[in-house]
């Protein structure tokens, strides 16, 4: 299986690569439009700040490429947020693959970033096969996607928000599966089986 990881300035992909290796996959890291289009699966990781990440994607022309893919696609963390229409992080316009706005957690009500293990519920996708409601995954983020029509898993901090969303072949998950012990490995395995 050919798994491509999107190469741009906001990905620390070492842990993701190790996790995929453990599942028997040797991913390629690429920003080449053809390589991405011909992969069986595409993973879009992300860490850091949204506006500089979007700038990097646009400079590489990836903003257009990523919107036109047909194979199963998985955004992780900032990758998920960049798939939405916009984010409150430095008022950044994003890819617009999923028509939702990314908001900042309310300061004062809870500590920001939302950092640590939180449980996920209302699981509605084959990527959660054999993952129980109430399983814990590792989150690190200051911005979130609200509950919406595309929500396929929810978490609470302090209110319910989208832990994962999906539209067509585009899947996205807020926590880091590559850092979420066995539940996270299972999720990656499920995605690879789509």
């Amino acid at each position: 299986m050919k798994v491509a990881i999107v190469k741009y300035n906001a990905g620390n992909i070492q842990s993701l690569t190790f996790a995929l290796n453990r599942l028997g996959v040797d991913p390629i890291l690429t920003d080449d439009a053809e390589a991405l289009a011909s992969a069986d699966k595409v993973i879009f990781p992300g860490q850091g700040e949204a506006s500089s990440a979007m700038r990097s994607l646009r400079e590489k022309g990836l903003d257009k490429v990523l919107k036109e893919l047909h194979q199963p696609f998985l955004g992780i963390c900032l990758g998920m947020q960049l798939m939405c229409t916009s984010t409150e992080e430095n008022n950044t316009e994003c890819l617009g693959i999923i028509p939702e706005k990314v908001l900042r957690f309310p300061a004062g009500e809870v500590k920001v970033p939302h950092m640590g293990w939180n449980d996920i519920a209302n699981l509605k996708s084959p990527i959660f096969t054999d993952i129980k409601d109430g399983s814990y995954l590792y989150f690190v983020h200051s911005y979130y996607v609200p509950q919406c029509d595309y929500t396929i898993a929810s978490s609470e901090y302090p209110n319910a928000f989208s832990a994962a969303i999906q539209k067509d072949n585009y899947y996205a998950i807020q926590p880091h599966p590559e850092k979420s012990a066995e539940a996270g490995m299972k999720l990656l395995e499920n995605f690879l089986k789509l």
Binding site: N12, S15, F18, R22, V112, P113, G116, N118, F139, H176
Partner: protein, 251 residues
């Protein structure tokens, strides 16, 4: 619900795990990668590696160790010790570390906190603060807690939070190594003073101490070393006890 984290800390010297009692008298507690794997299986929520190697040359081996750890475990881990530049951070993150912690170097040059946070995001930056009571005030100490500074602990922590720290690792040097309990009062003051997570460290000796620092100290996470290395406290047992006391915990 977001859970409280239990974090074993591995002090690393020349590629091996050590833990000092009050940071002196080092004892060898094994191979860091093996220990990391064991802690993952036992239910640790996160790991912290602090490199206390004396020389720059020895520290370079840390990047290789980080890579081995990242390959072996799939939970988050933080690496600290001797980090003084954005390039130091880049090397560790690229090797697979999730976060870095800075301590003395941030005291020496506070702009380092801004620089790292801007470059890599607040989420990967832990500022470690070693605090010791001097008379009536809590003062930040550097160099393994041996050198007092003029910085008052709470105001320094507020400053680094404003500069872009994503998390605080608060070690009470008065409690460290005593196994007599965490510094609950100081931890609560810190936790209430900033809007970022606080890891309490120093003094954890039994299950009750962890309960206290979560309930009274309002800590988001608690860190300990030797009690876990020598199995004086078993992580899974500790987590079950805390869960029974209604502390949100990942089992």
């Amino acid at each position: 619900m977001l859970t409280k984290r239990i974090i074993p800390c591995l002090d690393i010297k020349d590629g091996r795990t050590v833990k000092g009692v009050n940071f002196v008298d080092l004892r060898d507690a094994g191979d860091p990668v093996e220990l990391a794997e064991r802690y993952t299986v036992e239910g640790a929520d996160e790991l912290v590696f602090l490199d206390i190697s004396a020389t720059l040359e020895k520290r370079k081996t840390l990047v290789e160790l980080v890579r081995k750890v990242a390959e072996a475990i799939h939970i988050p881990f933080t690496v600290g010790g001797g980090i003084s530049s954005v390039e130091d951070v880049r090397a560790l993150l690229n090797a697979g570390a999730d976060k870095v912690s800075v301590n003395s170097s941030a005291v020496k040059r506070p702009e380092l906190v801004n620089e790292i946070s801007l470059e890599f995001g607040a989420q990967c930056l832990v500022v470690a603060v070693d605090s010791r009571r001097v008379g009536e005030v809590d003062l930040v100490h550097t160099h393994g807690g041996t050198k007092p500074t003029e910085l008052e602990t709470i105001s320094w922590i507020k400053e680094v939070a404003e500069r872009g720290a994503g998390e605080i690792l608060l070690t009470s040097m008065d409690h460290d190594g005593t196994k007599a309990g965490f510094a609950d009062e100081l931890t609560r003051k810190v936790s209430e003073a900033v809007n970022i997570p606080v890891i309490a460290s120093g003094g954890g000796g039994n299950e009750k101490h962890f309960l206290d620092v979560f309930q009274d100290g309002k800590a988001d996470a608690a860190l300990a070393a030797s009690i876990f290395h020598y199995k004086e406290v078993e992580i899974m047992h500790l987590k079950n006890e805390l869960k029974n006391k209604n502390i949100p915990i990942r089992i």
